[in-house]
């Protein structure tokens, strides 16, 4: 018994040390570097014209990107789970693709298509006076790209499991498609949708690499610097105020995580099944086709019993003891 206790303690210590050194120490250092120059330096850093414009830009881009992803996320989710058509599985896999693409590659990809000089569409658009790269629309595209599947991945599992019967009943009773959506589907997916929106918002606020490439990093009257870009510039130009802005972004991140955490705990107590992975959903640069692919699998196999991947993979391995 004693050795078991001590292994438990050792494990705990190693785990805590790892997390502490990797995460806590840096956060403490940054907080200290933010507050030690004092409150007036803090105020100056976040209230300068450049900073205020950066806040505004970030908010505009994030809201536009989240709105686009919510609309297309729900739309695609409905199409994938409620209809059958050739290429459905391919579409679902392609929709997951953006999560695993490097942000620099995202920026390059958009410049190659929408750039004003050589872009596939960009040169024509530019002569029509529509500026995408080096301008707000390009930044919105870049941010929308990197957070594209976040809402989709949240609503698809819910859509695949729930609401089908109610929708069909409503259909029989004569409700139009729009009414069915508003009255039945939307309330059912609302928690998942909001959750996906919060994730998408966090991602959109914090994007750096992709926006850096498409924006041209302009400050002043035609500023194209978002808050993360401004942090980067202040560091590179040895100007003060980088830590203060970064600190604000950290605070926003922590708020989002706490919200997500609370939402998951609520679902957990509601459904009394193992909580789905919290940050599985925030997998920002990696693909995890689990929600969409498995949802399709489940729908196809009619297997209402095996509701949860975790349970499936946990069935005892009978040969394990030898």
């Amino acid at each position: 018994m004693d050795s078991r206790r001590s292994t438990q303690l050792i494990r705990r210590t190693i785990a805590l040390l790892y997390v502490g050194v990797l995460v806590l120490v840096p956060l403490v250092v940054v907080t200290w570097k933010t507050v030690s120059p004092g409150p007036s330096a803090f105020w100056k850093a976040i209230s300068s014209d450049q900073a205020v414009t950066a806040f505004r830009l970030t908010a505009e881009i994030a809201l536009a990107s989240v709105a686009l992803n919510a609309v297309f996320g729900v739309g695609l989710g409905l199409l994938i789970t409620r209809y059958r058509f050739p290429g459905r599985r391919l579409l679902s896999a392609l929709a997951d693709l953006p999560l695993s693409v490097s942000p620099i590659v995202v920026g390059l990809a958009l410049v190659l298509v929408y750039g004003p000089v050589d872009g596939w569409f960009g040169s024509t658009l530019d002569s029509a006076g529509i500026k995408i790269i080096f301008s707000l629309p390009g930044m919105i595209l870049a941010t929308t790209f990197v957070s594209f599947p976040l809402v989709l991945r949240e609503v698809v599992p819910v859509l695949a499991e729930e609401g089908i019967e109610q929708e069909q009943a409503a259909r029989v009773l004569g409700a139009s498609a729009w009414q069915r959506f508003l009255r039945i589907t939307l309330p059912i997916i609302r928690p998942a949708l909001l959750y996906g929106i919060v994730l998408s918002l966090a991602r959109s606020i914090g994007e750096y690499g992709a926006v850096l490439v498409v924006s041209g990093n302009v400050s002043g009257a035609d500023q194209t610097q978002t808050v993360p870009l401004l942090v980067g510039e202040r560091v590179q130009q040895l100007e003060p105020g980088a830590f203060q802005l970064a600190f604000l972004l950290i605070v926003v991140t922590v708020l989002v995580i706490v919200l997500v955490f609370l939402r998951r705990r609520e679902n957990e107590s509601k459904h009394s099944e193992p909580p789905a992975v919290v940050l599985d959903d925030l997998a920002l640069s990696a693909a995890d086709p689990a929600p969409t692919a498995l949802a399709l699998d489940r729908a196809a196999s009619n297997d209402a019993a095996s509701n949860d991947v975790a349970l499936d993979s946990v069935a005892p391995n009978k040969g394990g003891l030898r």
Binding site: V30, P103, V105, L112, A246, D280, A293, A310
Partner: protein, 285 residues
């Protein structure tokens, strides 16, 4: 009797063929067809066409042009650094992630919930903030006296920082749903805790561990903002994303696109690999 079909009920073949299949999915009508068209158009304009442009520009000099760009010594060095660091990070995540998940699921101590929340932070941070954070702690002004600026260790450290939760979050749910009876049976039969872990628990966790490690690998391959500052501008700490950015800055798009194509190929392989892993996990038992 009506066209309403419950998912678990097999109606007569004639009826199921009518409008909906057994799972309730319908064939496309006019409205939904249009919706699909719009969705596909959006996906193409936003994602598919731009990524195709990258591959196209990468091969704009034909296979020889692509090959020349890929085999450029700096490109090779950057790719080697990126792959080695990402593999290392995936491996470390596999081990530490499992350990962390174990502690979070099986252990109780004050502050456990706090640890659970903290784990998600570095990954959700804007990448440039993560980079600044690393520079503050491990740069030349390090308040803890650790100076790692411009070292490959620093790159690995940065990548570990942003990929911290991947394995943990993949393993956690599986561990939670584990049926303790088998472990207890093993203990009754005289197996040591380690043997129980090795022969009973670990095989069940392996798909989740692998999937978490793969996610970490994919994120690490493409990471930019968090390793930018700590790299110190040295060529030995330039990862592929930084190399591609440098080429973009110099308006050498074919070279940038060639490296980007390689990174994209890795992303695609990861997606396919993960898909296979998840299907294998779902089919078990």
């Amino acid at each position: 009797m009506s066209t309403v079909v419950e998912p678990a009920t097999a109606a007569s073949p004639a009826r199921t063929r009518a409008a909906r299949d057994a799972s309730g999915a319908a064939r496309l009508g006019a409205g939904s067809g249009l919706g699909l068209g719009v969705a596909v158009l959006w996906l193409s304009l936003l994602v598919l066409i731009p990524l195709a442009a990258v591959v196209s520009r990468g091969f704009s000099g034909g296979w020889s042009g692509f090959w020349d760009n890929i085999t450029d010594p700096s490109a090779v060095r950057a790719l080697r650094l990126t792959v080695v660091s990402s593999l290392l990070v995936a491996a470390i995540n596999a081990v530490m992630g499992t350990l962390l998940a174990w502690v979070l699921v099986r252990d109780t101590f004050p502050g456990k919930r706090l640890v659970d929340v903290i784990i998600d932070i570095p990954f959700a941070l804007p990448t440039i903030v993560a980079g600044l954070v690393l520079l503050a702690v491990y740069g030349t002004d390090s308040p803890v006296g650790i100076h790692l600026l411009g070292t490959q260790r620093a790159i690995v450290l940065g990548l570990l920082f942003v990929t911290l939760p991947f394995s943990v979050r993949a393993v956690q749910p599986v561990l939670m749903a584990l049926d303790r009876e088998v472990e207890q049976a093993a203990a009754c039969l005289g197996a040591s805790p380690f043997t129980t872990f090795r022969r009973v628990v670990l095989p069940l966790l392996l798909p989740a561990i692998a999937s978490g490690a793969t996610l970490a690998f994919a994120r690490a391959m493409g990471e930019y903002g968090s390793v930018l500052l700590i790299s110190g501008g040295l060529s030995r700490t330039k990862v592929s994303s930084m190399y591609a950015y440098q080429k973009i800055e110099n308006f050498d798009f074919p070279a940038a696109a060639a490296t980007a194509t390689v990174l994209l190929a890795v992303s695609l392989l990861v997606i396919v690999g993960l898909d296979q892993l998840q299907r294998a996990a779902a089919r078990r038992g």
